[in-house]
């Protein structure tokens, strides 16, 4: 009897120790993020000619081009620029109900290898394929339908790697209104969506931005309404949970934390606010910079209201859509991070 009791006690101790050990490796608490670098004077404005934009734009880099999609435009909604000197090249993709038009534009998938980009239409539940070179030379170019979306579960923002692998956040409507958001893999050939297995269990109403890095085999989830970043591998195994100074498990969207996120070389960069956005005008003005293990490196205080951004790896540059005195700007990261 004594032997059994001793054995059970030992087993309990081993179990507790192994659990604690695992948590220490993957759970990171950043109580202070106070290495703030002011870089407002290093932000250079982009003079955009020929196009007038609404206040809601998204930026993408494909090969040598900067794509600015204007989600609230009433005419053409995709505009292409030279990514090096920002010279205007062309516009494409009419908004409307017609056969080659986009009703509700979503994300643009970037296929650099085949020089194509894929535009999601959430009204028609379709993805249209645009050949980059044809768009550049033919003002009357019409796209092809690449695939149809399942309205019960569909990809929203994603990163395209090849026709059988994209990673991003999916939407699962829960009725006429309301939805669940998750990270998933997407096979564009078959339309199959496979959920990533790790979910941070205390958060029921998950709202995230996702970025993926094929070379490192990592994806990162930045929570919109919790001070939490999660880094996992491509199989959906948790690597790190990074809890910020304002971390709690509250279930409200009153306070906005993280915005868009991107892998920039061997760093993770995400916009951060940490303030109420209801009834007050608050928008992120800074980027949090982490290494690939989620360790905090610095905060870049941009000093302008950041609407969105993309990363130009050839120029090691962040190009930003700003809701401020200047509408678009960029910052060269060499010598800063």
């Amino acid at each position: 009897m004594k032997f059994i009791s001793k054995f059970l006690s030992l087993l309990l101790l081993v179990t507790i120790f192994s659990c604690t050990n695992k948590d220490n490796k993957s759970e990171k608490f950043q109580n202070r993020r106070n290495k703030i670098v002011n870089v407002r004077d290093k932000v250079k404005g982009i003079q955009v000619e020929n196009v007038i934009f609404s206040g809601k734009t998204r930026l993408y880099i494909i090969n040598d081009y900067l794509i600015i999609s204007d989600l609230k435009a009433v005419d053409k909604i995709i505009h292409l620029f030279n990514k090096n000197d920002f010279k205007y090249l062309t516009s494409t993709c009419y908004v409307g109900q017609g056969p080659d038009e986009i009703t509700i534009m979503g994300c643009i998938g970037l296929d650099e290898k085949n020089r194509k980009f894929y535009v999601t239409d959430h009204g028609k539940n379709q993805v249209f394929s645009y050949a980059l070179d044809s768009v550049l030379i033919n003002p009357f170019y019409t796209p092809e339908v690449k695939l149809k979306l399942n309205p019960k579960q569909f990809m929203d923002k994603y990163q395209y790697f090849n026709d059988t692998l994209s990673i991003g956040r999916i939407i699962e409507p829960t009725g006429n209104q309301g939805f669940k958001q998750k990270t998933a893999k997407w096979n564009m050939k078959t339309g199959e969506i496979v959920h990533m297995k790790y979910e941070h269990s205390p958060i029921n109403k998950k709202r995230i931005n996702v970025a993926a890095n094929e070379k490192e085999g990592l994806y990162v989830e930045c929570y919109s309404y919790n001070d939490l970043i999660t880094i996992c591998d491509f199989n959906g195994n948790l690597l790190y949970n990074i809890y910020g100074p304002s971390w709690n498990e509250s279930e409200t969207n009153k306070t906005q934390y993280f915005g868009e996120v991107a892998f920039c070389g061997n760093k993770i960069i995400t916009s951060y606010l940490g303030k109420d956005t209801f009834g007050k005008y608050n928008q992120a003005t800074e980027f949090i910079v982490l290494d690939l293990k989620g360790d905090y490196l610095m905060t870049l205080n941009i000093g302008y209201n950041i609407e969105g951004f993309c990363y130009d790896k050839e120029n090691n540059r962040i190009i930003m859509s700003l809701n401020d005195d200047i509408q678009f700007g960029y910052i060269d990261l060499d010598g800063i991070i």
């Binding site: 206040g55 809601k56 989600l71 609230k72 509700i104 534009m105 979503g106 994300c107 959430h122 009204g123 569909f154 929203d156 923002k157 939407i171 409507p173 006429n176 209104q177 309301g178 939805f179 109403k205 709202r207 931005n209 919109s224 279930e251 409200t252 969207n253 009153k254 915005g259 209801f278 009834g279």
Partner: protein, 75 residues
């Protein structure tokens, strides 16, 4: 006996008045919250297509379709 009945009636009247006052103050709180929500919705220029809870300028909201530029109402 009469005195006892009168005192019970007096205490009951006070209790009812206090209860009514409390209920009124609670109702006022709810009205105020509702009014605030409406003000906030108007301030955020609520999308007329999504009167069930999608506001302008956000990271996505579902209302029969997925609207990537809209924002969920406060929850």
């Amino acid at each position: 006996m009469k005195k006892r009945l009168l005192s019970i009636a007096f205490v009951s009247a006070i209790a009812v008045t206090a209860g009514w006052n409390f209920a009124q103050s609670e109702n006022k709180g709810n009205l105020s919250d509702l009014a605030m929500t409406n003000v906030e919705a108007l301030a955020a220029s609520e999308n007329p297509m999504c009167s069930n809870g999608c506001l302008d300028n956000g990271n996505g909201c579902f209302c029969n379709y997925w609207f990537p530029t809209y924002k969920e109402a406060q929850w």
